[in-house]
């Protein structure tokens, strides 16, 4: 499982750093890592969402000029928040639900990133461009919500209790 998660993380970071720079919508770069972290919280729960968010954030920080650790902080919060809020909901079982979570989570991630930047003496991050950035990143992740959820499920397969596994084997 850890190997899958590592492979998935490297893959999504490669996409973010190599493919995404070729695709710019109205001057805004999409952020598929934020989308993956959001649905990871939904699929894997709060704890695994936070861990994946932290690792993905550290990876993304390697390629950005903003203070190191900011993405890790924001994505940890997003993974945990989505995982905590989605407990007991049926969002993960519908395509629309997962897409909405990917969009809402990534919108929160972009806005949160700018807010943390502003708190860390970077007030220019809260500019008028923030609105379009939030909107476009959310829209792109809404569109890619389903494949991102599949990827998150592949990276973090659901751990079934031992008894149910035995039952499945007996069958």
């Amino acid at each position: 499982m850890r190997l899958r998660a590592a492979v998935g993380l490297v893959a999504i970071l490669l996409v973010q750093e190599t493919v995404v720079p070729q695709v710019r919508i109205a001057g805004v770069f999409p952020d598929v890592v934020a989308g993956l972290v959001s649905v990871a919280g939904l699929v894997g729960g709060a704890e695994r969402g936070a861990i994946l968010g932290f690792l993905a954030g550290l990876g993304e920080d390697l390629f950005l000029q903003e203070p190191f650790g900011m993405s890790a902080l924001v994505y940890t919060c997003i993974g945990f928040a989505v995982g905590s809020l989605a407990v007991g909901t049926s969002l993960s079982s519908s395509r629309l639900g997962t897409s909405l979570v990917a969009a809402a989570g990534s919108a929160m991630a972009v806005a949160g990133y700018a807010l943390v930047g502003a708190l860390l003496d970077r007030p220019e991050m809260l500019t008028s461009r923030l609105g379009p950035s939030v909107g476009i990143v959310a829209l792109v992740n809404f569109i890619f919500g389903v494949p991102l959820t599949r990827m998150a499920r592949w990276m973090m397969p659901v751990r079934r209790p031992v008894s149910s596994r035995r039952r499945a084997l007996q069958r």
């Binding site: 490669l14 973010q16 750093e17 190599t18 493919v19 995404v20 720079p21 070729q22 001057g27 805004v28 770069f29 952020d31 729960g45 709060a46 704890e47 936070a50 861990i51 932290f54 954030g57 550290l58 390697l62 390629f63 950005l64 000029q65 903003e66 203070p67 190191f68 650790g69 900011m70 890790a72 902080l73 940890t76 919060c77 945990f80 995982g83 905590s84 972009v110 990133y113 700018a114 930047g117 860390l120 970077r122 220019e124 991050m125 500019t127 461009r129 950035s133 990143v137």
Partner: protein
């Protein structure tokens, strides 16, 4: 009870990760781990950069291949042949135009008067950094070619930005339009007059620079050029054109003029740049 324990574990993990993140940011801000982080960034970019090249280069042939495949199945062979010829001619024309543009840009780099004999390193712009909060580009020259952090980068017209990260084979250049960019500029070039100094702040990609601290009594003309100040201890050499005045208005309280500056270098179409091998005196 199991659920409660699970929630407690989740919260504990979350708090630990939060504390680690905050510690990483604090250590980075205090400058203790900048070299380590810079090295890690260099390694990561050295790994990803070739893949990025391949992806960018792959985009065009794939597009052409798909177009060719579509035409292959066409029943109107003659029509398809003519279309293909037309496309080929258009592609050749496009290639010729691009080559001409590249040649013009390269010609512009030759003998830039404001460099005053300073040695430079020519570099290709290979990528943009995918951040929505910074304006920066990657170039294909790094520390192995003599590029170091803090060096100014120019193109035909004037200042493009400064090098902020280097690895052995590539560097990141923060553009003057980046919101975190601040440049001391000189705006009175009349002989015998003491230089007047302002500060040009980046306002994000595609936006004019905003110049602060412009003397309210000084008559500034539209399209007047502003240059790097080259103040003692400054981070840039003097007399590199930064931009020309695009708008002037009286500032609030009359303490300064609000001036916007249009960058001289075309930051939206950078292909070739020159890194000036100049480091700030300490």
């Amino acid at each position: 009870m199991v659920i409660n324990r699970k929630r407690r574990n989740s919260r504990f993990t979350f708090i630990v990760l939060l504390l680690i993140s905050v510690t990483v940011i604090t250590v980075y801000y205090r400058g203790h781990a900048r070299t380590l982080v810079s090295d890690a960034k260099g390694i990561a970019n050295d790994i990803v950069d070739p893949i990025g090249h391949v992806v960018a280069a792959a985009a065009h042939p794939v597009e052409h291949f798909l177009q060719g495949a579509t035409d292959y199945g066409s029943l109107l062979k003659a029509n398809a042949r003519l279309r293909a010829e037309n496309r080929q001619l258009q592609a050749e024309l496009g290639t010729a135009t691009r080559a001409e543009n590249e040649l013009n840009q390269l010609k512009q780099q030759d003998g830039l008067p404001y460099l005053q004999g300073m040695s430079t390193v020519s570099a290709d712009v290979i990528d943009t950094t995918p951040s929505n909060f910074e304006a920066s580009v990657a170039i294909d020259k790094g520390s192995s070619s003599g590029v170091a952090s803090g060096m100014p980068v120019v193109s035909g017209g004037g200042l493009v930005g400064t090098v902020v990260e280097t690895s052995s084979s590539y560097s990141i250049v923060q553009l003057i339009s980046s919101p975190t960019s601040r440049i001391a500029v000189r705006y009175d070039t009349s002989a015998g007059q003491p230089a007047l100094i302002g500060v040009a702040d980046g306002e994000g990609e595609g936006n004019f620079l905003k110049v602060e601290y412009v003397d309210p009594h000084h008559h500034l003309a539209m399209h007047e050029l502003m240059f790097t100040s080259g103040l003692a201890g400054g981070t840039l050499p003097p007399d590199i054109p930064v931009g020309e005045v695009a708008s002037i208005s009286a500032g609030a309280g009359g303490l300064q003029q609000d001036v916007s500056l249009s960058p001289v270098a075309d930051l939206s179409q950078l292909q070739f740049v020159r890194v000036v091998e100049w480091e700030p005196s300490t």
